[in-house]
């Protein structure tokens, strides 16, 4: 009895510490209020402080905070991770 072909199935979710986005309070597995579809269309982004938000949410926040934006969670200066 030899296994020689295998179709496996896996599902992915965001790997964030919190369940929900700190800005819109929506689940990370859901999407930000502006999007209709979760997943690749509404990705998460991590800051240098390791806090994650919906990309769309944090971009809105960062763009509204000039000259320097801070992480909404820890008030450290916001830097995109990586």
């Amino acid at each position: 009895m030899i296994l020689f072909r295998w179709h496996a199935v896996a599902s992915w979710t965001w790997d964030a510490q919190d369940e929900t986005c700190g800005i819109c309070r929506m689940a990370f597995d859901g999407c930000c209020p502006d999007c209709k579809l979760p997943g690749d269309d509404c990705p998460l982004i991590w800051g240098a402080c390791n806090h994650a938000f919906h990309l769309h949410c944090i971009l809105k926040w960062v763009n509204s905070q000039t000259p320097q934006a801070h992480c909404p969670m820890c008030r450290r200066e916001w830097q995109f991770k990586g």
Partner: protein, 817 residues
Amino acid sequence: MSLPNKRTISNTSNTNHTSSMKKAKSQTVACSVDSAKNGLHHDFNNTNNPDNDVVFDPSSLSLDEDLKTDDSRAPAAANLGRKKAQPPQPAKKLVIKLVKGKPTLPSNFEEDTWAKLKSAIKAIFLKQPDSCDLEKLYQAVNDLCLHKMGGNLYQRIEKECEAHISAALQSLVGQSPDLVVFLSLVERCWQDLCDQMLMIRGIALYLDRTYVKQTPNVRSLWDMGLQLFRKYLSSYSEVEHKTVTGLLRMIERERLGEAVDRTLLNHLLKMFTALGIYTESFEKPFLECTSEFYAAEGMKYMQQSDVPDYLKHVEIRLHEEHERCVLYLDVSTRKPLIATAERQLLERHISAILDKGFTMLMDGHRTEDLQRMYVLFLRVNALESLRQALASYIRRTGHGIVMDEEKDKDMVSSLLEFKASLDTIWEESFYKNEGFCNTIKDAFEHLINLRQNRPAELIAKFLDEKLRAGNKGTSEEELEGTLDKVLVLFRFIQGKDVFEAFYKKDLAKRLLLGKSASIDAEKSMISKLKTECGSQFTNKLEGMFKDIELSKEINESFKQSSQARTKLPSGIEMSVHVLTTGYWPTYPPMDVRLPHELNVYQDIFKEFYLSKYSGRRLMWQNSLGHCVLKAEFPKGKKELAVSLFQTVVLMLFNDAQKLSFQDIRDATGIEDKELRRTLQSLACGKVRVLQKLPKGREVEDDDSFVFNEGFTAPLYRIKVNAIPDEGNSGGEHKHYRESIPGPSISGSPPLLHVDAAIVRIMKTRKVLSHTLLITELFQQLKFPIKPADLKKRIESLIDREYLERDKNNPQIYNYLA
């Protein structure tokens, strides 16, 4: 006859006259006076001597010609001709001088002339030849009129006519009891009168043209004749009555299928019309008679014959009545007559017809009869009844289809068939009436939603069957057609979310197991749903397709990756579908202890994936995995298509001959229930790769299993079917229902809708009691949901601080901004 002679005279005189007239225009007035005077003089002389050969007024040339062609019996036509030919009278400029003394009439002139006329009239009435020339008679009347004796003459003629007409009608009294004979006598009498009156009028044309015209309240000779006939007809009421009865009797006979003399009918009815008593004396009793006749016939036929025959009969009857109007009845009778027949034959029986025959016709797809019914009902404005009958028919029939749980399997195809047949009937029999179309739609909407979510589920299932591979024999066009038809049913579904959930589940299965018949067909279905319900509805379904495509790319690059090439043990061809959690149905996580080898594969893939996509978590959905095994049985090599769980179990038997249920459970770590089903599929299904000891359908705790050494199968590739969850589709249905209130991160659509609706209502109302909130929710939410579920959602919103309970009254909610 003196015709040729006279013609020459008048001709010459005419040419003279006209030439002189022409001259008159160019010459002096005196000259024209002369010639005109001559003409007049000539004329005058003639009147003085009625005994002379007839010499005509020069202007009567055309009359002469008419007389010649039409014979002297057609004075009516001559009359017309004469009128046209009257020359312009140059009277204004004439001066007439009387040369001699005024000529006097002979004293017996009037009496003599009348005597001549009288004998002629008598002869006409008695149909005897008269010695006197008609031409002379005409001239006689002419003379009398010119001498202003017209009034007297008229009265005398009237008296004469009256005597004869009265006598003629009296002669009919007590005549033949046979109605047809009697009727022809009446017709004869009438025809004679017409002929005679025409003749008399011809002779006395001049009287008609002058005296009658100039004197008010005097009837023309023709009308006078008619009036007299009418007068005596009604005074001898027996004659009139007998005539009318005879006519009615004859028409009735014709209705009963006898051949009757239609010309006779036609003539007599023309007589009534001419006498102006058609409506009063004939039409009224005729309509009454018709009404009675058809009332009786309608009753009788409704009892005797079935509906299609009855309708055919009605159609024929209406056609006959129409013919009747064309052939002998007066035009004005058509409308009331047809209306009467329609009322008696149709209107009174509408509900009986529908009760008795509509279902039968519909069941038998008798488009022709239904069309007939439609057309006939349209005539009596009874379409509304027909429409209602249609509505209740659809509901009744559809109820049978939808509510019969034993026929759930065929429900969708039956409904499709039913709808198709209704559409054909609608097109062919109901002339695509818009109201009927709506009726069909409404009735279907009602039907489909009779059983909450079940039809939605079955429609999804039906689509699954159609879109699944192995559906041989259907071309792409056919498939497209079927999809379109199913979509029509889909439109009627109120719980579209329910449909989506089921459709998604089936679609997931098709995509993951590669069982889809054609990706094109799948995509076309998605785009159909998109046009129907908007992109919101299909976003996630489309996302599933994206995942499948993306997975292919990932697998490709995985194969090329350094991890795969360096670390992967060879032997197993692995491909992975990576699903985005939110798009796919939620699958309950299932534990399984995989063989070490497989764990290595999974870890390597995971490492590869996470290196490619950071910030993600990968979870293996082992319950969805499936494998192909190569197995060497003593009686031959086989390829087995099995699920991952089945694989895990079977692999155990590579190292052991006999394993107990407990052993397998400990070794695989598969959850108890799931394991039982897996073992059942391997040892108790169609394909028995394992043998269970002792034998039996259910897997018990003490059972043990051995590898089936004697396994044979006709085919090389074998699929080992899994035992479906709960054993039937009803279970899946239940499962879905239970999943509604459960906490699910991805949020199945109904939950989000419910939450959104609650917040929306509370945001506008700020403060609301529990009951009112629930009521409003039921109005807003289009899909079925239990109050208990709503309560849970409210609780959840309170937890999330969207709402709070009022501190004084826990039945009241406050909205928290």
